[in-house]
């Protein structure tokens, strides 16, 4: 009974979204430039333009223009209706999405519930071999079993109730499902096109999508050009006519192209130049914290890090304020918690000592090391992948430990793939690590420290905290869930399996005539649909 009352409340909260115009709110008096073309640097070449196979940020940026899921993320990071115009949770593990009837593919075919069923089944199909199949699939009923090849794809929890009504069943209650389905991996694809072209269905001329733009040109390592999709249901509110994505890997080359006027949008500034460009381009340099964490992993299986006092002592003497302001110096805020600012589903749990003066922190750390029997001069090895950025951070941390505690950190630098392998195998004492949220919920961060999680490279496991997370995951009460996950996160972090250092941010240069950019989008999920070129 009580459950039913709760569900009614949730349903009332989550629906009530209508299909009104959803494009960016234009400031009054906005005058458009005659030419609405936009050149956007995109970091690196996407690994694929198949939404089921795509994995990296650069690929997903473009795919959000070419495809649209049940929902979408607007420029301010809010979940807004996509192909679905409304949705409701009919029981703790069942959601019903009502699709708009005017959504079309770029070839004019209507987007129906069956296209979502096909898209999701294809995504978890072992034959597709999607890197995200289990990451997102785990939330769907039977999603994991299908991805493991233990059940047929028809068993995954997605069903077309009628042409424009889609039902999704989840394994546990998934409070953030409407946000999760904004990912194009869980979106619709055009079956006839895929069957006709096979692997080449993603090539310009062949691809049929349902996003605000269509793929016009793709030259590997050179450019991807998309143009406005006139069939898109909200085309009236799409201002840009053409967007060019450039895969510029060198961050200095990226800035030079922007300065010379070749591009309008820098993907990300290199470290150490933030202040210089802030002074030079105060209006154009935009910076926002995103939900991601730079951290160091302890190998908790290693005897030297078995003792929590050692892990705590080493973590507490690192001055994150100096690290953030002087070392990385690119506007990344200091982090004292696994859960960073802006994450939904749990609150950050900063350490009590974060506000202590450094003297007190050092005194406490020395005491802890002494109790643990660790003598000054003790050596720990630290693994990181060759990069100026990681080196700067490592040198700073090593000097903090050396000067404050007399601990020696021996750094070992290696190629990225070698580090990745070492981390997965747990073959390190301390290792650099970083995490960008897959979806905005605390569980994506908790995956880094949970028992039996693929993403846990510190091999820490706290069964008590695990029980809290499980209990939270089962709860349909958002407040209760948040309380349990926050509690679990604090319990885990008090065991110091990782050293949180700084929260990711995205400093980038954007021409002042580009409208529609906000600094509120915590996952950098900007659709070109929300951008426009102001008269200049």
């Amino acid at each position: 009974m009580q459950l039913r009352i709760e569900l009614t409340a949730i349903a009332a909260l989550t629906l009530a979204l209508t299909g009104a115009s959803l494009a960016a709110d234009l400031p009054p008096g906005t005058q458009f430039h005659a030419s609405q073309t936009f050149v956007r640097s995109n970091g690196s070449e996407p690994e694929s333009m198949d939404p089921a196979v795509a994995e990296t940020v650069p690929a997903n940026q473009i795919l959000r223009d070419l495809f649209e899921g049940l929902t979408a993320t607007d420029t301010a990071g809010k979940t807004v209706p996509g192909v679905a115009e409304s949705w409701k949770q009919t029981n703790p593990t069942t959601w019903v999405f009502k699709l708009r009837t005017n959504a079309k593919f770029s070839n004019g075919a209507p987007v129906t519930a069956d296209d979502f069923v096909y898209g999701i089944r294809r995504f978890v199909d072992p034959k597709t071999a999607s890197p995200y199949a289990t990451t997102f699939g785990v939330f769907l009923l039977n999603g994991l079993e299908v991805a493991q090849g233990k059940k047929p794809t028809s068993e995954v929890g997605v069903k077309a109730l009628d042409k424009f009504t889609l039902e999704i069943k989840t394994k546990d209650p998934v409070a953030f499902l409407p946000e999760l389905v904004a990912n194009t991996q869980l979106g619709p694809v055009h079956k006839a096109t895929i069957e006709k072209w096979g692997k080449d269905w993603v090539k310009p001329g062949n691809m049929v999508g349902n996003g605000a733009f269509v793929l016009k040109d793709w030259q590997v390592n050179n450019r991807i050009v998309v143009e406005k999709n006139l069939q898109y249901w909200d085309a009236a509110n799409v201002h840009l006519t053409k967007v060019t994505y450039l895969p510029i890997e060198d961050q200095f080359a990226d800035i030079k192209l922007w300065e010379s006027g070749e591009t309008d949008y820098v993907y990300q500034m290199p470290p150490g130049v933030f202040d210089k460009y802030k002074a030079q381009y105060p209006k154009e340099l935009r910076n926002q914290a995103i939900i991601g964490l730079r951290y160091y992993d302890y190998q908790t299986k290693d005897p030297v890090f078995k003792d929590v006092r050692v892990r705590k002592a080493l973590s507490m003497v690192i001055d994150r304020e100096i690290l953030s302001k002087r070392v990385t110096a690119d506007g990344q805020p200091p982090a004292y918690s696994l859960i960073v600012t802006g994450v939904v589903g749990a609150d950050p749990t900063p350490y009590e000592w974060a506000t202590w003066p450094m003297d007190k922190r050092v005194a406490e750390a020395k005491k802890l090391l002494e109790q643990a029997g660790v003598k000054p001069g003790t050596k720990y090895s630290f693994a990181y992948n060759t990069s100026e950025y990681h080196k700067k951070m490592a040198v700073f941390v090593a000097s903090e430990w050396k000067t404050k505690l007399g601990i020696n950190m021996e750094t070992e630098t290696m190629e990225f793939k070698v580090l990745a392998k070492k981390r997965h195998d747990g073959a390190f004492q301390l290792a650099r690590n970083g995490w960008l949220a897959d979806y905005n919920d605390a569980t994506t961060f908790l995956a880094l420290v949970r028992c039996d999680s693929d993403q846990n490279t510190n091999f820490y496991c706290n069964r008590e905290a695990e029980a809290l997370i499980q209990k939270g995951s089962q709860s349909t009460d958002a407040a209760k869930r948040k309380e349990l996950l926050t509690q679990a996160s604090k319990m885990i972090m008090d065991d110091y399996p990782i050293i949180p250092l700084v929260q990711y941010s995205l400093p980038r240069l954007i021409k002042s005539y580009v409208g529609g950019y906000s600094e509120l989008n915590p996952q950098d999920h900007y659709r070109s649909k929300d951008f426009y070129i102001i008269k200049h």
């Binding site: 072992p126 071999a129 999607s130 090539k203 030259q219 390592n221």
Partner: protein
């Protein structure tokens, strides 16, 4: 000469096989695989991916499959660029690298040989010192310094040329990268040419030619130039290969979609097929250029006959 050429081409086949095999083994022995990344893929996903790319087969079977594809001209599917075959990637990048590297090489030979002759004939004069200074500067300043300086001057300050990128062989996008590669190559070719010509000019047959009263122009062009070019031809082979296939810094600085970028991204991402495909390509190029160099020797030096 034709039978020599044919023999050389045939003898290249075992060379290629050895190169491919060693490279194949080295790639697979390197720690970290194509699917190791920040996010560890689950066991299920890894199994799916390995099955898709035949990595679940024993290594020797994978190797034979690769060779079978290779014989049919199929370099396989790329891991890093999942929607493309290695053939697609090479076909797109090779013309770009060939035009940038090839034109730069041509210009470097003309300018380098010219400057070298000029300096050699005026040894220890102001002109010679100036040419040597230019040559040394070209060698001393690394391309990752010269390139950005060129961008700052010609793209950002003067706005004459684009700072980088590539638009279907449009000349304005090619000028700066070609200029950068040429500057680097000219310095090498110029120095080698100068040294070699100075040495030749001191040899007995040149003294004889002079004694016969031939004008300097004839002495240099008819008698000295050919033997003096031998060392230049020797350095041209490796220089051409590196200009075409390993112009990574130039490609990075100017954001060009060439072969250098593919090689580095391929190796960094453990894209086995892409790296092997490029190794095959480079081996073919090397064998061909070495053959051309050897044939050029025969033309330049009457003592060499095949």
């Amino acid at each position: 000469m034709w039978s020599y050429t044919l023999r050389r081409i045939l003898s290249a086949i075992p060379t290629m096989l050895v190169v491919i095999t060693v490279c194949y083994l080295l790639l697979h022995a390197t720690p970290g695989g194509p699917f190791d990344s920040d996010r560890k893929v689950s066991a299920a996903v890894l199994a799916n991916l390995e099955a898709k790319y035949h990595l679940d087969l024993p290594l020797w079977q994978q190797y034979l499959l690769y060779l079978k594809g290779l014989l049919q001209g199929d370099l396989g599917a790329s891991f890093r660029y999942a929607d493309w075959t290695v053939n697609d990637l090479v076909a797109a990048a090779l013309p770009i690298s060939l035009s940038i590297g090839g034109i730069a090489m041509l210009l470097s030979v003309v300018i380098g040989v010219g400057l070298g002759i000029f300096a050699a004939l005026r040894q220890n004069s102001v002109v010679d010192h100036f040419v040597m200074l230019l040559g040394n500067m070209g060698s001393a300043f690394p391309s990752f310094v010269l390139g950005p300086v060129m961008i700052i001057i010609f793209a950002i300050a003067l706005k004459w040329l684009p700072a980088g990128g590539w638009h279907d062989f449009e000349v304005r996008f090619m000028i700066l990268p070609i200029a950068l590669l040429t500057i680097i190559n000219v310095s090498t070719i110029g120095r080698v040419m100068r040294g070699s010509l100075i040495e030749v000019m001191h040899s007995n047959f040149i003294r004889t030619a002079r004694a016969k009263g031939l004008p300097t122009r004839v002495v240099v062009m008819r008698h000295a130039l050919k033997p003096a070019l031998l060392p230049v031809v020797s350095v041209m082979g490796p220089l051409a290969i590196s200009s075409i296939t390993a112009a990574l810094i130039t490609e990075t600085v100017f954001s060009l979609p060439g072969l250098g970028k593919l090689i580095v991204n391929g190796a960094g991402n453990r894209d086995y097929t892409l790296v092997l495909g490029l190794v095959v390509l480079i081996t073919v190029l090397t064998v061909t250029l070495n053959l051309l160099v050897d044939l050029a020797y025969a033309w330049l030096d009457p003592k060499i006959r095949y």
